[in-house]
Amino acid sequence: MSDHTADRLRGLVAAFLRTHDPGGDRVGFLRARFDAGLAWVHYPAGLGGLAAPPHLQPVVDAAFAEAGAPDNRPRRNSIGLGMAAPTLLRHGTDAQCRRWLRPLWTGEEVWCQLFSEPDAGSDLAGLRTRAARDGDDWVVDGQKVWTSMAHEARWAILLARTDPAVPKHHGITYFVCDMTTPGVQVRPLRQLTGEAEFNEVFLTGVRVPDTQRVGAEGQGWQVARTTLMNERVAIGGRPLPREGGMVGLVARLWRERPELRTAGLHEEILHSWVRAEAARLAALRLRQLVAAGQPGPEGSAVKLSFAELNQRISGLEVELLGAQGLRHDDWAMRRPTEPDLLGRTATYRYLRARGNSIEGGTSEILRTVIAERVLGLPAEPRVDR
């Protein structure tokens, strides 16, 4: 147990704010906050933290927000903050942590993820990208897909096969790849909304120094598992007020446009409202469990049900709009850096939400994970190892 308390941390923030102007230089302020251990308070001292309990992080964030301090634009660097940082902390060397964590946290360096491949989606361990040893470097060749932020990222976390002779999970190694290295080619991947949030990344003779290997050679799968778990919690972990998600948009529409109401859609909106509120309370309960030091396995449930809800509610919204639901705003190819599920049109939301049950682990995979890890049901007979 640490001797940190919420009050003590609020005191540290207040002291920090007395010597650092939240309205001054943005990057300078964030660097100083990192150096003061007030970035991730549960990280070790020297790496942005104070080794405090994780549930005190919201206290610190709230205190900075109240003071009008700039944040580190977390949605712009969600891979870096949600996946790369915890993996580096757990599996990286001290030198790696010192090189990468500070500019990652301040947002000076954005990160992306080179995991999925055209033939290795749900079955990520089936990946084919090769990394071959050459002196102090690895030479990487292959193709990755579904990489968000690749066109803005400085660094990527990368999974590549370093030993094709051993069974599939065993020959994979985890690297950090500099996206400015020659041989890294990024192409937009247009999605059904017309725009391209994601990219394909082609790796041709890309040299990655062995010092950028994370974890032991051949241990990449174990290293990645930490990260994949973090991705799911990151997606599902934000707290919502009542009607805070998509259901709020359709509820507002219902209230403001009485001429659209029908008895059938009334039942549907009530069903959706009930399910959204149940999912919200379950997510809140998960946060309370985590805060009480009893993290449960409910994280996968949160992602699964928000995907279903987003799809159901956006579909309802389009039908409720009727004539207007037949119209879209724009099919032009664009390059957003993050999905905008509460903005744009209902048709955009409906289409974009289809991806919620595919990205970050398909709903099918999540159900299997729940069945096996939570309920303890037996795995299927395996034919691929």
Partner: protein
């Protein structure tokens, strides 16, 4: 803010109830009772009251109770749902809320100690009124749900006439709280003019009775708006607490089915290794997880006396009732032929779940209440 967890005292209470039920109410005994003449397990009830003091949990200490609250009552109900136990605890909790609202401390004290068993004489299917505030209705009496009896006087003492059909947890009770005219009355079931006719109930572990009153002597305990508010609060309490029973029931169905499909082999594999079975149970687990949060929220708001308690109760019955039914249906289905037999306990849970989906109003009525409470109005006029 709402507290959705279980406190240490609540966990200790759960352990006690579960241990008592494991020792004295295995399902085999409950099943055997179905072919007998005594649907309620009087011995079990005595143990719960005497050893664990369950009827006193929500009663303040100054009136002889434990001074805990409805969060604790909800924990007991989770365990009773898990064991599909044939005891009149839900009815006692509803009666407790009624008496707390009426301020009838004497009867409350007797209920708390188990000296007398009390039930609210309203049909089990009665929903809380959509508007919990009776002041908006024109006639005060019309806001009393379930009013079917009328009041007369013999000398200066009131007597009741009428019938109340399908009352739960009344079969063995000593006192009925009867809404009649524009008031609420206590009627001694051992007195004259009271006839209790047992019903062949869908859920035989919660047997119903039809109550017939023919000049039954009655003691007024509340009148007018106070009576309306008491009955309304009691029905909201029933709806909110039933959700915890449903969570316990659903969890048993899930756990039992998971255990079965792990053990049962077909085609040389555990049935639980087939992906469609796994995914169905994963979806059910998600629903039970959410139902637990919803039920906990309803109990917590009830215990806090929050004005949003009726909203939380409506949400609880809109969500948890259907989840419990689905859980019981999945349990029967994934047990295959075995789950369809009388000798397996799954049907006890199925019947309790389906009966619970009607108790205190069906889910659609609670959705309609939510529509009012959260301002999602029905379309004006006909389509």
């Amino acid at each position: 803010m709402t507290d959705l967890l279980y406190g240490a005292d609540e966990e200790a209470l759960r352990d006690s109830v579960r241990a008592l039920l494991a020792a004295h109410a295995p399902w085999q005994r409950t099943l055997a009772r179905l072919d007998g003449d005594e649907p309620y397990d009087a011995a079990l009830w005595t143990r719960l009251v005497d050893q664990l003091g369950v009827t006193g949990l929500a009663v303040p200490a100054e009136h002889g109770g434990a001074g805990a609250g409805f969060r604790e009552v909800a924990v007991v109900l989770e365990e009773l749902g898990r064991a599909v136990a044939p005891v009149p605890f839900l009815g006692a909790a509803v009666a407790t809320r009624t008496l707390l609202a009426c301020g009838d401390t004497e009867l409350l004290g007797q209920l708390a100690t188990g000296e007398r068993t009390v039930a609210l004489a309203v049909g089990l299917s009665t929903a809380p009124p959509p508007d919990p505030d009776p002041t908006v209705t024109a006639e005060p009496g019309s806001a009393l749900p379930g009013v079917v009896a009328r009041v007369a006087e013999v000398g200066s003492a009131p007597v009741l006439h009428g019938v109340v059909d399908g009352v739960a947890d009344a079969l063995c009770c000593d006192v009925l709280l009867v809404p009649a005219g524009d008031g609420l009355y206590a009627v001694d079931t051992g007195g004259p003019g009271v006839r209790m006719t047992p019903v062949v109930s869908l859920d035989a572990t919660r047997p119903l009775v039809d109550v017939g009153l023919t000049g039954a002597p009655a003691r007024p305990i509340a009148a007018g708006a106070a009576a309306s508010r008491a009955v309304s609060a009691a029905l909201t309490t029933g709806a909110a607490l039933l959700a915890s029973e449903q969570v316990g029931l659903a969890q048993w169905c899930l756990d039992t089915t998971v255990a079965h499909v792990r053990a049962r082999h077909q085609f040389g594999r555990p049935v639980g290794s087939f992906q469609a079975v796994k995914h169905r149970l994963a979806d059910l687990w998600v629903e039970v997880t959410q139902a637990r949060a919803v039920a906990r929220h309803a109990a917590d708001r009830l215990a806090a006396g929050d004005p949003e308690a009726p909203l939380a109760a409506a949400l609880a019955q809109a969500y948890c009732g259907p989840v419990a039914v689905r859980a019981a249906e999945v349990c029967v289905q994934l047990h295959g032929g075995l789950g369809f037999t009388w000798e397996h306990p799954a049907h006890l849970y199925l019947k309790r779940a389906k009966s619970g989906a009607i108790a205190f109003g069906t889910a659609d009525r609670h959705r309609a209440t939510l529509a009012r409470l959260v301002d999602l109005p029905a379309p004006a006029g006909r389509r």
